[in-house]
Symmetry: C2
Subunit: 258 residues, 2 copies
DNA sequence: CTAAACCCTCACGTAACGTGAGGTGCAATA
DNA sequence: TATTGCACCTCACGTTACGTGAGGGTTTAG
């Protein structure tokens, strides 16, 4: 074979002059400040300085910087970049694997947050209220619900909610606010659950519950658990809420012979 | 209707005593330091202090804190929380909408990063190298490729790569490293592309290209564009790489009559 | 030889607190 | 009553990866 000609531009052997920081910055797309920073924290210390203190980056510095940029592109923090390039800390595959895990965790969190925000935006569309109080109320109630219902149940409830009018929602609220005090008073007065007036109330109660749960036993159970645990907090937001004792009392009313 | 009985525990009218910071912290699950911070930045300034300077939070402070917590749960930064609760800045729906947009943007970025990391992890599995140099090389080549190939093309290439052995990949690299200098020398010596020795080389060249592109014209085109723009950078990582002039020369060789 | 361009070293700001350090207030106990 | 111990106070630095000046030397082109 013949003698090797020059590949493209220069050979490695013809030592290129060291770069000043501004030059290196514009070649790599980094800022001068970033290079100063890398110097400070030990990620990339230029191997030369001029007598007056100007940084000079030679070929191996430039190569190291390319590696730094590669690793940063993968989202690896500077401190770990430094450890990797210095051969300390963990092995590359370990670092990558751990970062994938962390990233997935982070993404999962963000996705859950995005779902919550989407749901919230839907509510805001239907309710068309601009008050922060209302906004926070919706947030509190929905976050409380997320603790007691599964994702599928929540979806069912969202669908049902979006299919009814805002006016009807107010009617439902008003109904509860009318019925619950009556029940409380009846309980305080030891009224027989089988009595006609309680039976009338029980009928309305059952209808309201049916409408909300859609007849789903699991949802009804979750609602009761939620009111049991979050009663006071929900009361602040919603107005009148049923207590576990009321559920028991109403249970007797439902079981009473007609 | 009869007189209202007491709902659950207390009535709002019986003013509850203001809370000290530690008490409020333990009730809300926040840290004392966080409450200090909220005070500092004006998100929640307690409306009372004792003579000695101890913070006292009254009922309305507590309610405001609940709102703060709700908004923070939705990922809204403290400064915007403050503006919302103080009625300054944007309206709640605007804030929510903007945050949804920001969040989706962020999630998209994270997802792209996750994909890159997954691909990288795959490479690391097949190549089983633990050196940072190799790691960075893979990163650089794959990120360069992402600029020139579409997502589908990249997937095709990934599949093809994972279906061959590491040994074969080395063979391919070696073939290029043997052929390219020969072509360069032939070009420098003005050898006729139709000459037998160049025709022999052209045959091997074509086979190598075919294997990589799978016969896909688009991929072949993207490869040439990539080498044209990223030539020097890739050369540092891969060794010998073809130049546009070589593609022209080889084109003549392919077109030459046999 | 001078002015522009480039370089240097501080040093503060970012988001949302964690983590002391060093000192005061307050209720209960010895 | 004196002392203990706990809760509270105000600084103030650390975290991430730089951005953005301030104030002052150096190099280079005209």
């Amino acid at each position: 074979m013949a003698q090797n000609t020059i590949p493209t531009s220069q050979k490695k052997s013809m030592t290129e002059p060291p770069l000043k920081v501004g030059e290196l910055a514009s070649r790599t797309g980094l800022s001068v400040r970033a290079l100063h920073h890398y110097d400070e924290i030990g990620v990339l210390k230029p191997s030369l300085r001029t007598q007056s203190g100007h940084r000079l980056y030679n070929q191996s510095d430039v190569e190291r910087l390319q590696q730094v940029q590669s690793l940063r592109l993968m989202g690896i923090p500077l401190e770990e970049v430094r450890q990797l390039l210095d051969g300390a800390g963990m092995s590359p595959p370990e670092v990558i694997a751990l970062h994938i895990a962390k990233l997935h965790e982070h993404i999962a969190l963000q996705n859950r947050l995005a779902e919550r925000l989407q749901g919230l935006a839907m509510h805001l569309d239907t309710v068309e209220t601009a008050s922060i109080d209302d906004l926070c109320q919706i947030i509190q109630v929905t976050t409380a619900m997320e603790k007691y219902f599964t994702a599928e149940q929540l979806e069912v409830l969202r669908d049902r909610r979006s299919s009814i009018t805002e006016e009807h929602m107010h009617e439902v609220r008003d109904s509860w606010n009318e019925i619950i005090p009556k029940v409380r008073n009846a309980m305080a007065a030891n009224v027989d659950p089988a009595s006609p007036e309680i039976q009338a109330i029980a009928k309305r109660w059952k209808a309201l519950v049916e409408e909300f749960t859609g007849g789903d036993r699991k949802i009804a159970q979750a609602v009761m658990t939620m009111y049991q645990n979050e009663g006071p907090r929900l009361q602040e937001q919603l107005g009148e809420v049923p207590t576990p004792e009321m559920f028991v009392y109403m249970g007797k009313a439902f079981a009473a012979p007609k």
